[in-house]
């Protein structure tokens, strides 16, 4: 019952599409450059990082630049997904209490916002690959599958964290604190081999693998098998948690928000 209602909400594409665009318009309302601020702020961030960290390390600048640009693009999506997931139901309080909209609508709306952001950041990534004329092969197409997996994972994260944070508000603050730390524990600004033997630790960080499935094909021209295995396993476990949450927990969300 709850499950069906949820997926009906996911299925109502025109509605969440409109709601997501309304959110984006609200953020960039009356600004001259509008939604392209996403691209500009991304460009500024990676530009400065490449300038500073490129100077202090003895690496091939082209390789390092692409590493940072693509890694940070994916991180942006993951970070926004996880942090916003905490707020997905709490932030829709007045809609949940005023209408009997499906919770799936709010999840899809939130993820659509992140996809729109990712799109404007991806433009920069594609320009960068062409700018450096970094050689690509057919392997690059697995990036698309990587993105699909990022979205599928974003969904279960929204369901689980959205419900958990609505009930236990401490979790939201915990997640924010953890994500700040994870930014440095994930190889975004540095390359694992720079850490020497300590790099092995990075393999225990799931975010490393989520980055790798998108970044490795572009930067190194390989399909990272270990990372794919980890990602697929987490996806399965995560969706079990999500279905459990939908079946037994979400019916009380209206009381918690």
């Amino acid at each position: 019952m709850e499950l069906r209602a949820f997926f009906q909400g996911i299925g109502d594409v025109p509605l969440w599409w409109r709601l997501a665009w309304a959110d984006m318009n609200q953020i960039y309302r009356r600004s001259l450059i509008g939604i392209f601020w996403i691209s500009i702020s991304f460009l500024m961030f990676v530009g400065v990082k490449i300038f500073i960290f490129g100077a202090i390390s003895q690496m091939d600048m082209t390789y390092y630049s692409l590493w940072v640009v693509i890694g940070y693009a994916v991180w942006n999506f993951i970070n926004a997904s996880v942090v916003d997931a905490c707020n997905v139901f709490i932030g829709s309080r007045s809609w949940i209490l005023g209408t009997n909209m499906s919770l799936g609508t709010f999840v899809a709306q939130s993820i659509m916002r992140h996809i729109i952001s990712l799109f404007f950041v991806a433009i920069i990534c594609i320009v960068a690959v062409f700018f450096y004329s970094w050689e690509q092969s057919l392997v690059t197409f697995t990036v698309l599958l990587g993105l699909v997996f990022l979205i599928i994972n974003s969904m279960w994260v929204h369901i689980v964290l959205g419900a958990l944070c609505a009930r236990h508000r401490d979790v939201m603050h915990l997640v924010q604190a953890v994500m700040h730390v994870m930014f440095f524990l994930t190889p975004i600004l540095y390359i694992p081999k720079q850490l020497g033997p300590k790099a092995a630790v990075l393999n225990y960080n799931p975010f490393t693998h989520y980055l790798a499935i998108v970044r490795e094909p572009v930067v190194n021209g390989i399909i990272p098998q270990l990372s794919w295995t980890v990602v697929i396993c987490i996806t399965i476990v995560g969706w079990f948690a999500a279905i459990y949450t939908l079946k037994y927990k979400t019916r009380n969300i209206a009381f918690w928000i």
């Binding site: 005023g98 508000r169 209206a254």
Partner: protein, 252 residues
Amino acid sequence: MSKLLLKADNITLSYPDTTNSFGLFRQEAMGQTLALDNVSLELFEGENLALIGANGSGKSTLLRVLAQIYPPNSGRVASYGDIQTLFNMGIGMKQDLTGRQNAVLMGMIAGRPRQEVLEMLPEIIEFSELGSVFDQPVRTYSRGMAMRLSFAVATSLEPEILLIDEWIGAGDERFRTKAQERLADMVGGSRGFILASHNVSIVKQYCHRAIWLNGGKVAKEGPVEEVLRAYIEHTHLNKEKNREEVDAENFS
């Protein structure tokens, strides 16, 4: 016998304690008061039912149970038609979208295809009397204007069941008359509405049958005049009682 639109059986609901997460630092349990205690109601085609009661008597909670927003602890709700809600003002509106965009959004939230909602727009503009303001962002609207918009959209969608909460009081006399006519039309068709209010004159004006909720229980149910008389008597008695208590305290 006309057709049943909405039926609630023995609804009991208490709000879960959500003061903090893990039961740490919890204050002494508040004695788990019931927000709704064994409430049943039925709404038939062509009926206009009032829920009357003081603030905190469970009217809004009951409407949310009927709209299937709150799951009750026990009892069940069955609806035989589309439900539209007119709850707190501004709900279901995006402040930065125009009246027109919000109207389309509200229609889509109600599950109507966009094209169908677009066809309803001329009528919504006419009824809401928003004119050129219709294309201004809703954040510039006054309370009354926002109310006219939500009312126009909710009724244009022609739901079988309309649930209205503490709501009609706003708006000027002219619009209230129009709203009343429209609600009368609704009841004239094969539809019905439930109006929750603590305002006796509004209830008398809009409804024929009433349910009086007191502390989450149905205190009385029946023709509007009878229920209102009992309700007024009760509130009046309470006032007297309070006055006596105050007098007694002053003596000691």
